[in-house]
Symmetry: C3
């Protein structure tokens, strides 16, 4: 039994609850809290996330009494605790005593006090104090009956350009490169005369007079992610040293560029996600779906934790739209449908003051007699009905690449043919046609195994190391289908252009050589014609591409590249590669992707269901659970489920067709024969 | 006789003149200046505003000779002096000797030399040197026959985030809160673990890693306003200690967010305003009118001083449009019509160099043979004709709230449901329908007495303390009519959300509970239907509101809130409240406001006059003066004055109707029977 | 024989090549490089531009071996070397040892390492180390047979606001003004009380609380240009001291605001230009033409060096469009047509890493089998055919003013009537109608001699000193035609408004007095009517102008200035002045300019040729070379050449008409009879 199995057993299926910050409230409020938690079906809370100053109000002086009382009170009311190390919020006494703990901005100035995450992850003082409070907490609560999980710190994220960071960056580089010669080679420091001749000269990349060396920037991103990871590991190891059977995690964020979660996830018992899909964005549920698939994939298909979401509006944006009635429930079920084993919120009770006063909560400012609390209570009841689903997962024949190195290469560095690459938009552009057609999709990194997949989607793999490139080539050679888009394979793991012409790593794979990259002018549009005569357009980019073994699936119909290939097909080994050399109009792109996936023998069992009904499956050896989620607020829609089963939400039998009201949902259990 | 009565007597009615900076010119020019001042009717100048370095070129070395000569020369030519303490412009020797005098930016960096207002108001060194030069000036000139008024410093404004500010902020907070516990409570420091455990930890709010604690920010705004006020009071007390019968003031600015003028005005003999309505803005005369009403109200209806305006273009904007012929005169009369007792300009003679070379002056670069100087001379003649008006004031039955705490709450703090609140735009939106209908309006703060008003307009009173809220409630209970708009009563004086649901302080007053605030998406528009069937639209915001004692004046015609109240009416005590839960289309909003005002029994005597003719009345026990100002540059317009009188500008009798040429004006004296 | 004659003789006509950075590559690559250089016709390279760290890896430790080998290798392969002092790229050991070498930003923070040009030009330490490495290079290579030219540093540009800059700025000001009184007068420091009483108080203009004293800013720009020039001169004098017959230059940049090239050019043997016309801008070849004319004019008509351009796309912009086929050749010929004696590129071989990996090169990432390398090789062959053209130049009867002081006055200072003046756009607006009509144009500064010109174009000469103004006035008085546009003559060389009204220096010249400047509102448009009844419009600006001796060529047809002059003509002495008081619609403006030029007796021999075919002439005593360049990518066009000759590119005889293919070119040699 894994640690997470134990956790699921303890909460009886899904964890349902949120961040709980009792230190903001009088004890009288605590009693009301637990009463309302019971009413809402809450069975787990994250506790103490920002409580360092409340637990250790002065260096070495501890106040655990209130926490003891809360732990007991929660336990008495059947609420399990995901206990946080409070190290995301260093107390003011720490920065006042040691201002060098503050993170330093890239212009060399420190940030001031008055927020959380105001620490330099490389600071030895910060690490020492963080270890201390972690030890104290572990000593005291490791065997408290309420303890169900450790929540290490919170949303690891700060970057610092201070002296401590320089020292650690230097060490990190020494470990990586061994010699300065190798660093100079990797960073191409002979360009513009940036040659290092002594390790002491190497420092963090403060704002230079012009733009930054791309490899130095890339390594600094890698280093910062690793520095944060070291902070996590130190605290994890402390709590583990007291007790080994409690799961440990930290909460990650949606599309967060500053930590390479592929390197972090193996160190956690569960991948945990904080996500705030923006209700102002009509497609936010699609990018949410991608993130859910990513989080399931981070630990190889294991269920993950939805650790924070909002009941309605947040307060961190310029414009904070509410979640309209039904959307919070639908979004929660969506996470569950893609293998979340918890539905948690920030936070239980809305704060009266502080920065996030207007961030919605399970218990909002308007109190229990409110739309939000009613919806929370309804959802709490449904989570219990869904208990059998917990612990199950899903499978896929399609994988899509999402890789932090690749992201950094495109977005952290200036000096590319164009500077408006958005890696996440590009990935979503490739993911969307699969989502709309109800394909199950796994997410992989450049380092992931590709075994078992039929189709691999490679969106804009600009920066990829030799091993990563070889893995993709091998996949195709062995019979896989690769869908790849332009500006891939260009630079190696050191962010250096691969020699011998574009597309570097993938010339043989795509069966073409690219002479030059031709970004398009604003508003420039190109005619594109498919072999069968269909016409479409493209924008934004063209490869000046010369076919070798490849053939043209589509060619330009006009312009200087008229007649040249816009989409390339290449039979490669036992496999097939389809390469997009331009940014096809989205529906044309979607159609090609759909065809290629079908030709690879991958079929969705929900083929033909309209895109607004999201269809997914979780399952285990005994059962499968079909989730049908109607994202339309206007239309009822009927969906045929190809087997008899039971809708867990209603308890009704399902024989064939399920009709979903607007924003409606069904979770059909189908028992394997 | 008040000090200001003495001043009026001395200048023989209105003060007319401007800032005079003779230190920029040769003595030969001084002779020409006074000759042209006489020609232009100038009877008062502000002198020495930036002359510190000229008066004290080295620490402790004084050069008063030139000032003696100028004072005498002005006096000999019948020009009274508003003598400035020059402390807005610390000499370079002071910042060179004591760089800690420089204000510090919120990122921790000091500003450089090369401007005015480059001092930290908390700096003890600055305060010491400022007191010294003030003493020297007062010693020498308190009994000079030219002295008519003291002009303390100039446009108080700088904010500093330096060490001196931290020390004083800390003291200010200790005085306010007494204990750290109370500060921690008010600031909700348990949120995100910002708890203070020692006063030494409390400092000014430098840029944090993310956004700022809202109450800390609010208190810092209050503190900065108070720190500047302390600077003013210190200098005022010095000049008073030498002679008590000379009025003392400092010049404020239009819509200036960084000093709470309600707290300052009682410390002055007259409220004085620098205002530069932008000729590029076709509505700038309406916001000017509001500011004039505010300045009259700041000291309870007493006449105020128009201390700076421009004769034509300024130079401080990206685009500096000239005042077309006639506009300078009309704008000057507008200020007078709303109880200004002076018309003063920055500055007398246009500078050849320095930052504001292209700021227009009474005597422009093109010299006396210029449109501008001719218009100035004409105006000077008219000011003499208007002399009987000086000292009179006006009355109103309508008050509108304008409050600095409320402004700071909305605009100095991030994390609201939306971050594009503009308090001044909102206030102008409420003021405009009253202005267009020629209603006299007073301006009140949350702390003002509301006695004597029939209608109180409360635009977006988001942050209001208990006393302020009680005053509004009491006003309604006693029979007053309250017009209030959304997002009011939400947070208390500590910037904390009021418990028990929105709209906090005003649930009973408006007769409705608000479940949640629903900011609108960009371009989202809602249909709204009035009880009588009229239809309009709204945008930007909706309350998710549930009527209690209130009734719907208008409901949403579509959307998720269809049928729910968009405008609420509530009979409350002996009074009536009309509450706008959404941003109604402006003309529909105006119509509601007009109806509600009329139903409250308030009638304008200029009802029916087109909006482009501004109609106002000043008066005293013997006479009233009707100002009719035609803001149209195209149309002549006739206005019926309901009594016989004399146009002071022409000396012609008025019997019934006055016809105003485009940009024309009349000031009709009507003697009380 | 001048040094440049020697250089031309050595390279056999034109220099063709680029920056060569062998330190980035293995010696094996060097062999391939020289082989391909021979293939491409390369006869010159700029070497060692950023090689300081490679030449002096530690202070006082030198590695010249690789450079010896390269110099020999190049020489053996017939490639001449333009050897760079590497001082644009201080090694990291220098800034690590002496952080005070870093330039300081205007907010007081230093820049970090990781770029080039990261030095404070005032730093004595920088200057000392730069002199040392320059000396070492000169000692070793002055008599190397490959050496053909010295390339001092690179793209001089950095500005610093540090302590060293303050010290030098102070000395510079003392030399300029002698006494503080004169500085205070020039800077108008009595305005806002900025009076200096001790030289130690004077420092560089850090960001002030508000905006900067305009004369202080202007002097700081002049000082910074001079500080950079001192750096250049110091290195030039070192290399000269070793050998006197080698030409010395540094490479300037297109429209570079931060160095006054008129002061620099006399100190060089050839003006040298780095230029990257943006392929995304359809008019970039017109502004290129202007810059080429400027560079020819900088040294009084001598041929200049095109020192850097790109073969295709660059990487320094947000969007880097490629040069489409044929455009690189056409642009190169365009430079030659306007008296360039070299065609050089940055850089020879595309880098694999570093900031400019995606900057195109002569030898691109795709290698010799590429469009780019083929076009380079073709061009190299053509350059040889053009050899007779080298050393010749051109003549013009029209001059246009382009002046750095004037530029700084308009764009480096806030507080003008409007703040969106673009000096370069204004100049291009005046140059374009001349360019379109194939007029040869020289560029002059306010200090240039105007002898020999018939027409002088003065675009927006806002800041001009007395001598400059007198020179223009004298030119007109003696019979010249002056075309001048609004906001000219306003401030003197100290940036102070000239007394006695606008337009200051030019009231008598234009025959009109300006009462006030009236910038237009956004989108405001004015009707304008010419004397002959033609109508057009204007925008952006109007003078409120009163004619004196001048007459109206056109008047406003509407608005407050209806009937008043919009374009003024003034017969002045023996000459004529046409003054534009508003921003005429471009085609109307062009027509007036064309008429005025024609009336001045200036005629283009290519009158009637469509604008898209650029026609220019170089020549000497024996021959003239007519360049015909078709910038249209769509149309073939025939041009009549009025004499018999030979097309150097094809060797074909030309008798009368030449037909140019799209993007085609001809260079017709016509031997003087």
């Amino acid at each position: 039994m894994t640690r997470m199995d134990g956790f699921r057993e303890r909460v009886g299926g899904f964890a349902f609850g949120g961040d709980y910050n009792p230190e903001q409230w009088d004890p009288a409020v605590w009693r009301e809290d637990v009463r309302l938690m019971r009413e809402a079906g809450v069975n787990a809370v994250s506790l103490g996330v920002f409580a360092w100053a409340s637990l250790e109000p002065e260096p070495g002086t501890y106040e655990f009494g209130w926490l003891d009382e809360i732990m007991d009170l929660l336990h008495d009311n059947g609420v399990s605790v995901n206990l946080a190390t409070p190290t995301a919020a260093p107390p003011v006494w720490l920065t006042h005593l040691h201002p060098e703990v503050f993170p330093i901005r890239d212009d060399g100035q420190p940030f001031g006090f008055g927020n959380r995450l105001h620490y330099d992850p490389s600071s030895p003082i910060y690490r020492e104090y963080a270890a201390n409070i972690t030890t104290k907490l572990a000593e005291r609560y490791s065997f408290h009956p309420a303890l169900a999980m450790w929540h290490i710190s919170n949303e690891y994220g700060p970057t610092s350009y201070g002296e401590a960071a320089s020292i650690n960056f230097r060490s990190w580089l020494r470990r990586k490169y061994g010699t300065l010669d190798r660093l100079n080679e990797a960073w191409t420091t002979r360009f513009w005369g940036q040659l290092y001749t002594d390790w002491d000269q190497v420092d963090v990349p403060h704002i230079p007079r012009n733009w930054m060396n791309p490899t130095r920037r890339l390594d600094f991103k890698r280093f910062t992610s690793d520095a944060l990871l070291e902070c996590y590991l130190a605290e994890r190891d402390i709590v583990r040293s007291f007790r080994d059977d409690i799961p440990v995690m930290t909460n990650f964020m949606r599309f967060f560029r500053h930590a390479d979660y592929w390197k972090w996830a193996p160190e956690e018992d569960a991948a945990a996600l904080d996500i705030y899909p923006n209700p102002a964005d009509p497609d936010s549920h699609v990018s949410a779906a991608f993130n859910y698939d990513l989080f399931r994939s981070l630990k190889g298909g294991q269920p993950w934790m939805l650790m924070e979401q909002s009941s309605s509006a947040v307060s961190q944006w310029q414009l904070n739209i509410v979640k309209e009635p039904g959307r919070m429930r639908l979004g929660s079920l969506q996470a569950v449908s893609r293998a979340a084993d918890s539905v948690m919120f920030f936070q239980w009770r809305a704060s009266r003051g502080g920065q996030e006063r207007f961030h919605s909560a399970m218990l909002p400012h308007s109190g229990p007699d409110s739309r939000t609390f009613r919806e929370i209570t309804d959802l709490g009841r449904e989570m219990k009905l869904l208990a059998p689903v917990a612990g199950t997962t899903s499978r896929s024949e399609i994988a899509i690449v999402f890789d932090w190195d690749g992201w950094w290469g495109l977005e952290e560095v200036f000096g590319l043919p164009r500077s408006d690459f958005s890696y996440t938009e590009t990935v979503m552009r490739h993911y969307t046609p699969l989502w709309e057609r109800h394909h199950a999709v796994d997410v992989v990194s450049h380092a992931s195994s590709l075994d078992g997949y039929k189709v691999l989607v490679v969106p804009n793999a600009y920066l990829i190391d030799d091993e990563g490139a070889a893995r993709i080539i091998e996949f195709a050679r062995n019979g896989g289908t690769v869908i790849m888009s332009f500006f891939s394979g260009v630079v190696d793991g050191d962010n250096r252009v691969r020699p011998d012409g574009y597309p570097g790593a993938f010339r043989e794979l795509i069966g073409a050589k690219i002479d030059e990259y031709w970004p398009a002018r604003p508003h420039e549009e190109f005619g594109v014609e498919f072999a069968d005569g269909r016409r479409t357009t493209s924008t934004w980019w063209r490869d000046d591409l010369h076919l070798e073994s490849g053939t043209a699936l589509a060619t330009y119909a006009d312009g200087l590249l008229a007649g040249r290939a816009a989409v390339v097909e290449n039979r490669f080994g036992a496999g097939r590669v389809v390469y997009f050399a331009t940014l096809l109009e989205q529906s044309a792109f979607d159609a090609v992707v759909a065809d290629v996936v079908a030709e690879a023998g991958v079929r969705s069992r929900f083929d033909g269901v309209p895109a607004h009904v999201e269809c997914t499956v979780r399952g285990d050896a005994s059962n499968e659970y079909v989730f049908l989620l109607n994202h339309s607020a206007d239309q009822s829609t009927s969906v045929t489920v190809g087997a008899e089963g039971t809708d867990l939400l209603t308890g009704s039998p399902v024989t064939g067709e399920v009709t979903l009201a607007p924003l409606g949902a069904a979770v059909v259990r189908i028992t394997h024969p």
